[in-house]
């Protein structure tokens, strides 16, 4: 088995597993006592495995959402769509590879696809800025939104970013403006918008392409106003309390459904989507088809009004 990326919360399990593997390499035939211990250890490991993966806390899910082998936007595009045509550039500055934008067909449905794009290795991650877009990325996404609106193509988006890039050039080129304009534009497109949270949903950088008529979250994806580390830093002046922050922020898929932000959760295999991506792709495809079936019959202006009404309902206050 190839060495896989080990997440913090599964480290105790992995350590026991390697201990067991070592013991099993020894010749224990003459030592019944040790043999008993080995089988007890195996049982303990099985128990720990279930305990580790069946009841993941929010911080563990954040780690899964960032797992380097987790399926990414590109994987969904390849697995779900045919006749994919990618578009490039914002016609003003450049092409931001941290955003995927293009056309694709799901079954017989022609769509516009948007997504944050992380890399698969160091080289592609550098090109894609680890999935953190610059303003030109959002401006490319806006071009795609206008095309969708103009040609009546529903939009599907895949969220997977730690956040919009907080760099000097991003600020100089109007990161805030690009996000704000994207929000305004997306609120008014006269086509269905179906959003999938597939990994990280980092704040405004995710939201810029991250709301619509349906919000469907993968079980171990998160969507949050702030990263748990930054939240911890603000609250405790120490990023080390991220686990507590992750619990407070109610950022996991199930919590977001419970508080009425997300509509639906797509379940993942035990341990995360990277363990077995095929059924996840299939479930995402099925959820997309269901959402589109419900939405495509609505007139453009109806969709816009309902989308606005959805947004207007979000917020808790006394009066």
């Amino acid at each position: 088995m190839a060495r896989r990326h080990i997440m913090e919360f599964e480290r105790p399990l992995v350590e026991l597993e390697s201990k067991l593997a070592e013991l099993r390499r020894l010749d224990l035939t003459g030592d019944p006592q040790l043999l008993l211990e080995v089988s007890a250890l195996a049982e303990e490991i099985e128990r720990l495995r279930r305990e580790t993966y069946e009841h993941l806390d929010p911080w563990a899910r954040v780690q899964i959402s960032r797992h380097p082998e987790r399926p990414k936007t590109d994987d969904y595009v390849t697995a779900l769509f045919t006749d994919v045509i990618e578009i490039h550039g914002d016609r003003a500055y450049g092409d931001d590879e941290a955003i995927f934008a293009g056309f694709g067909t799901y079954g017989t449905r022609k769509l516009v696809i948007l997504g944050h794009r992380k890399g698969t290795d160091t080289k592609s991650n550098v090109r894609r800025n680890f999935g953190s877009p610059h303003p030109e990325g959002y401006r490319k996404a806006m071009r795609a939104m206008r095309l969708a609106d103009k040609f009546g193509l529903p939009i599907v988006t895949f969220l997977d970013t730690a956040g919009a890039y907080p760099g000097i050039e991003a600020e100089e080129r109007g990161q805030a403006l690009a996000i704000a304009e994207s929000l305004a534009l997306l609120s008014g497109v006269r086509v269905p918008v179906v959003v999938f949270g597939i990994g990280e949903g980092g704040s405004g950088g995710a939201l810029a392409i991250g709301f619509g008529d349906r919000l469907i979250m993968l079980e171990n994806a998160y969507y949050s106003v702030i990263s748990p580390e930054m939240c911890s830093n603000i609250l405790y002046k120490d990023p080390g309390q991220a686990k507590t922050a992750a619990e407070c922020l109610k950022m996991t898929a199930d919590e977001l459904v419970a508080i009425g932000i997300a509509d639906e959760v797509v379940r993942e295999p035990l341990g995360g989507a990277h363990r077995d991506p095929a059924p996840v792709f299939e479930a995402v495809g099925a959820a997309l088809a269901r959402a589109l079936d419900e939405l495509v019959s609505q007139e453009g202006h109806e969709l816009v009004e309902r989308r606005y009404a959805r947004l207007r309902e979000i917020g808790e206050y006394g009066s």
Binding site: A164, G174, A184, S187, G204, L235, K250, R312, Y317, S319
Partner: protein, 293 residues
């Protein structure tokens, strides 16, 4: 300035009672404050007369929402709207300091119910919907109430066909309200868009500091963007940017003047000229309406 001058200036001032917006406790007359710009000590009473602009260095100090409203609205014209909207603790957020405690101390400190005051007003006779954010209230962060008040402001302005003026200041989203807070960005941006689509004017005045989710939503969607001199404006805070890129930031990074140079705001207007400036600007933005009436 002699004491007599000071009193006559006080009388000349357009003195508006900003609805029932209460006067904040920490800026009572008679307090000495230190200018954040030059460090010189200033008498609060006199400073307020000068719209909280330092007479030594011209630095624009923070204004409270009631002070700002008083400085912009015609006398007696401000009627506060949606005062009854009050924050709740939807996530029972209790890390470090419970959110309910932060709210209570913000209320106490500012005398306000939330980080934005909204209402109807007239500026130079022109009826407008006006919103002013107040940094003393949890860094004027945007939670459900701020988002809702801004959305209602745009909706009421759309219904009454009025221009919107928003004076912003904010550290960003109110993290204690989690995703409820983030979604206010989309809600306010959508409301601003509908107001704009109705052909109505929106001017925002970005004051120190305006950051994060407020900058990246309604604050920059105005027809004309005005910034106050020296105001820090951006998406990501300077410390985060510095940590991310691991370099020193260029001089003046994210100041109003920097934003102007990079084409991100239309103009930098000194506070003393702001009111007259808004009146002139609204004259242009209301030209079609004025012709029709």
């Amino acid at each position: 300035m002699s004491i007599a001058d000071w009193f006559s200036a006080r009388e000349r001032r357009r003195y508006v009672r900003a609805g029932d917006v209460s006067v904040p406790a920490d800026v009572a007359d008679g307090v000495w404050v230190k200018c954040d710009g030059c460090g010189k000590t200033l008498y609060e009473g006199e400073l307020v007369e000068q719209l909280r602009v330092c007479r030594h260095c011209g630095h624009h100090l923070a204004m409270t929402a009631p002070q700002r409203i008083e400085s912009l609205a015609d006398e007696g014209s401000f009627e506060e709207t949606e005062k009854g909207l009050t924050p709740v603790d939807p996530l029972s957020f209790a890390a470090a300091k419970p959110y309910t405690e932060s709210l209570a101390s913000a209320r106490e400190k500012s005398g306000l119910e939330e980080a934005v005051v909204t209402g109807r007003a007239r500026i130079g006779g022109i009826p407008v919907m006006l919103a002013v954010m107040d940094f003393r209230f949890i860094g004027a962060s945007m939670g459900s109430v701020v988002g809702e008040k801004i959305a209602r402001l745009f909706e009421q302005a759309t219904a009454a066909r009025l221009p919107v003026i928003i004076v912003t200041a904010s550290g960003g989203a109110r993290m204690q309200e989690g995703m409820f807070s983030l979604m206010q960005m989309a809600k306010t941006a959508a409301a601003a868009k509908r107001h704009s689509d109705a052909g109505l004017a929106y001017v925002s005045v970005l004051t120190n500091p305006t950051y994060g989710g407020v900058t990246a939503s309604f604050a920059v969607l105005a027809d004309v963007l005005i910034a106050e001199p020296g105001a820090m404006i951006g998406f990501a805070g300077p410390r985060l940017v510095e940590q991310t890129i691991r370099q020193k930031l260029p001089k003046g990074f994210q100041t109003a003047e920097f934003m102007l140079e990079h084409g991100m705001v239309d103009e930098v207007v000194p506070r003393a000229e702001l009111r007259e400036h808004l009146v002139t600007l609204l004259g242009y933005l209301r030209a079609r309406q004025d012709r029709a009436s």
